[in-house]
């Protein structure tokens, strides 16, 4: 079992490494990830929301839908723990 897990781990690691071959170099300001959307956010977000902390601006507004569900996720977690653990009181 352990050997199998080890082999699976190695295989997956190898595939992931193989995938990184095509990646742009680390910290490269010209990589697609840093140019396509992010430059728009950096240049426009403050104009459009008046929030200097870009992360907050994106979190609260541009991707507010994600954040809403993020809140719901943790809410669910709290409820699920109550469901699973708490003994119902008389």
């Amino acid at each position: 079992m352990k050997a199998l897990a080890f082999v699976a781990t190695l295989v997956i690691g190898a595939i992931l490494l193989y995938g990184t071959m095509d990646f742009p170099a680390f910290g490269d300001p010209q990589s697609p990830a840093s140019t396509h959307l992010s430059s728009y956010y950096i240049e426009q977000a403050i104009d459009e929301t008046h929030v200097p902390n870009l992360v907050t601006a994106i979190l609260g507004d541009y991707r507010g839908y994600d954040t809403m569900f993020e809140t719901v996720v943790i809410y669910c977690a709290g409820l699920a723990v109550v469901c699973v653990l708490r003994r119902s009181k008389p």
Partner: protein, 81 residues
């Protein structure tokens, strides 16, 4: 961003990760995992991700560890592997 510090922390992180999953005492493992989280958070702060670092510091090193410890105290500390 200074790549040598970066690399040093990364190596420490890997060391902590290995330690966290090999140590036999679960409470120690959890604490090592807290250290791991904290190092991670340093790494991210150093990469400019302050918000992520802040969150990881409060959650990963704080709440997660507390929850783990709480659960382990209610179950058992020992681990065979």
């Amino acid at each position: 961003m200074i790549w040598s510090i970066d690399l040093l922390i990364l190596l420490l992180v890997v060391f902590c990760a290995v330690a966290a999953i090999t140590v036999k005492d679960l409470l120690s493992a959890t604490v090592i995992f807290g250290v791991y989280s904290f190092l991670m958070c340093l790494l991210w702060a150093e990469m400019g991700a302050v918000d992520v670092a802040f969150t990881e510091a409060t959650v990963g090193a704080g709440i997660s560890t507390v929850l783990f410890i709480a659960a382990i105290l209610h179950t058992s500390r020992r681990s065979k592997d």
